[in-house]
């Protein structure tokens, strides 16, 4: 059977693009287009999600991606990723230390008293999940009054610029595995340049998870939390804030701040274990807590926590062999990328006429064969 040439789809495709945009703009006479500020501010957390999954910190284009995809996070992340693939890579930054973050939220579940204090910041953690019906009819005046009221209240507390990491105090007490002062000049794994070929390094795992699709990362982490795993995490510290990005001045060589990125960062402390050396022999040192780390662009706590749990799970899986999916690097890392997964899912909608035609032919032949056999019995 010959190939079925597909013609006549051009008009339909053109039409579908127009219908898509029509649905975006169809409304009553008072409809106004969304502007970037509305998306970036009033849909702040959605915006953060797309920034993170898109893999490039470009707030203006993340807003545009959300607008043009009509709120589809997978499509929006896809658009942002596609954009980044058209841009030249100019450089890589020097190593940045997240202790320099300009904090907007900082909590610890492991400790009540942490140096610098716990500051809840902007969170939904304590919200009653009741519908705020008053927001259905929010007037511009009421809207603006909220900011005005907040700015009027002045605070007199002294807040430091940066805060020490909670992990540092645990480390000082000898409760954590010691950190080697690595003088490695080896670059971290760049997932935008090389494909993942297992076994992969931890830097490859972290880079993959940081731009993973939030739901899939959460689902796999949740499986671990519920018992398909053994992490039993406690959040040592969760921070949200702005990390200044610094590059050496081309002429003077001194580090200059060229901008800042909002990030969420989480460190979890998990079950303690004995330390083994590279040959898996006991080092006869004291047992220590194990750690997991998660960080991502934007304000996204569920993602950072999930990533930290999976970081710990993968470390365990690599060391002891995976005993469940969340500990298996191949399972986790190959199924959490939103663009990869939605792309594969979406491709099923593309014509598979020839493939399916051959499936039908084979089924008919098989049915005929079984009929022939039955009639000859």
């Amino acid at each position: 059977m010959g190939y079925v040439a597909i013609k006549g789809g051009d008009q339909a495709i053109e039409g579908s693009k127009q219908v898509f945009d029509y649905l975006r703009t169809r409304n009553n006479e008072t409809a106004t287009p969304l502007d970037n500020n509305i998306i970036e501010n009033q849909l702040r957390l959605l915006h953060s999600r797309v920034l993170s999954e898109g893999g490039v910190y470009h707030p203006r284009l993340a807003s545009l991606a959300i607008k043009q995809s009509q709120g589809d996070t997978l499509e929006a992340a896809f658009a942002l990723r596609a954009f980044r693939s058209t841009q030249p890579r100019l450089l890589e930054t020097p190593v940045h230390d997240t202790s320099n973050m300009r904090i907007t939220r900082r909590i610890s579940s492991a400790f009540k008293d942490i140096s610098g204090g716990q500051m809840l910041g902007a969170t939904t953690d304590y919200h009653l999940r009741l519908m705020r019906m008053d927001l259905l009819d929010e007037s511009p005046e009421k809207f603006r009054a909220i900011t005005k009221q907040w700015l009027e209240k002045t605070s007199i507390k002294e807040i430091p610029d940066t805060f020490p990491k909670v992990l540092d105090s645990l480390r000082a007490e000898g409760l954590l595995p010691p950190v080697e002062q690595k003088t490695d000049t080896q670059s971290p794994f760049d997932i935008t340049r090389e494909p993942l070929i297992f076994p992969v390094t931890r830097s490859a795992a972290l880079a993959t998870m940081t731009r993973a699709e939030q739901g899939s990362l959460l689902a796999i982490a949740y499986s671990n939390m519920r018992g398909y795993g053994d992490v039993h995490p406690t959040v040592a510290e969760l921070r949200v804030g702005y990390l200044p990005v610094c590059l050496p001045h081309p002429i003077t060589g001194e580090l200059c701040e060229i901008g800042e990125v909002e990030i969420t960062e989480c460190e979890v402390v998990a079950m303690y274990e004995e330390q083994n050396d590279d040959n898996n022999n006991s080092k006869n040192n004291k047992p220590t807590f194990t750690l997991g780390y998660g960080a991502c662009f934007g304000h996204n706590e569920v993602k950072a926590i999930s990533m930290a749990i999976l970081d710990r799970a993968l470390q365990k899986g690599i060391k002891d062999g995976p005993s469940n999916p969340s500990e298996d690097p191949e399972f986790v890392l190959l199924h959490v990328d939103g663009i990869d997964s939605m792309g594969f899912c979406t491709h099923y909608k593309m014509p598979h006429y020839v493939t399916f035609q051959s499936d039908m032919d084979r089924l008919r032949a098989t049915q005929e064969n079984s009929n022939a056999r039955e009639s000859s019995l």
């Binding site: 490039v56 470009h58 450089l91 190593v95 400790f111 009540k112 008293d113 105090s169 690595k182 990005v245």
Partner: protein, 156 residues
């Protein structure tokens, strides 16, 4: 005079049109020559994670860069360069020009200095805003302790 390393972060908070207007006006009869190709693209952010101090790439950000040489009609020659987290190469060029003007104190440098001051105060406002967010939501555990009088607490 404010440190050179702070000029970019200060100036980029200003509206771009304002920055461009000033730099265009000041350089109207100067000769500008690129020392390096002005570019717009991406930078890759490398961070050190805090569990094991291992490096990994957190993701890319938009980056523009420019490096130029300025010659005034009076024969003054100065060099300026800038890299900025933005996708507009024109912004990098304007910032590089400001870098040249301020570092060599070319004619009109006071205007640029004023812009830097303005930028710094905008940054200070953001800083204050963020600190207020923290101050307003700082947990006062001492009140909690008062309420649970007589119970032993395990502190870290």
């Amino acid at each position: 005079m404010i440190q050179r390393t702070n000029w970019i972060s200060a100036l980029k908070t200003l509206p771009f049109n304002e920055l461009l207007a000033t730099t265009t006006e000041l350089s109207s009869n100067w000769t500008l020559r690129p020392k390096s190709l002005p570019q717009s693209g991406l930078g890759m952010l490398k961070i050190k994670e805090s569990a094991f101090n291992e490096k990994f790439y957190l993701g890319e950000f938009c980056l523009s860069s420019a490096w130029l040489e300025v010659t005034t009609p009076e024969g003054l020659v100065a060099e300026g360069a800038a890299q900025v987290m933005d996708d507009r190469v024109e912004l990098a060029e304007a910032l590089a020009l400001c870098d040249a003007i301020l570092s060599a104190q070319l004619p009109g440098w006071e205007q640029v200095s004023t812009m830097v001051e303005k930028g710094l105060s905008l940054r200070e406002a953001t800083r204050t805003d963020r600190k207020k967010m923290l101050a307003d939501t700082q947990v006062d555990f001492s009140l909690l302790d008062d309420a649970d009088k007589g119970q032993e607490h395990v502190s870290n």
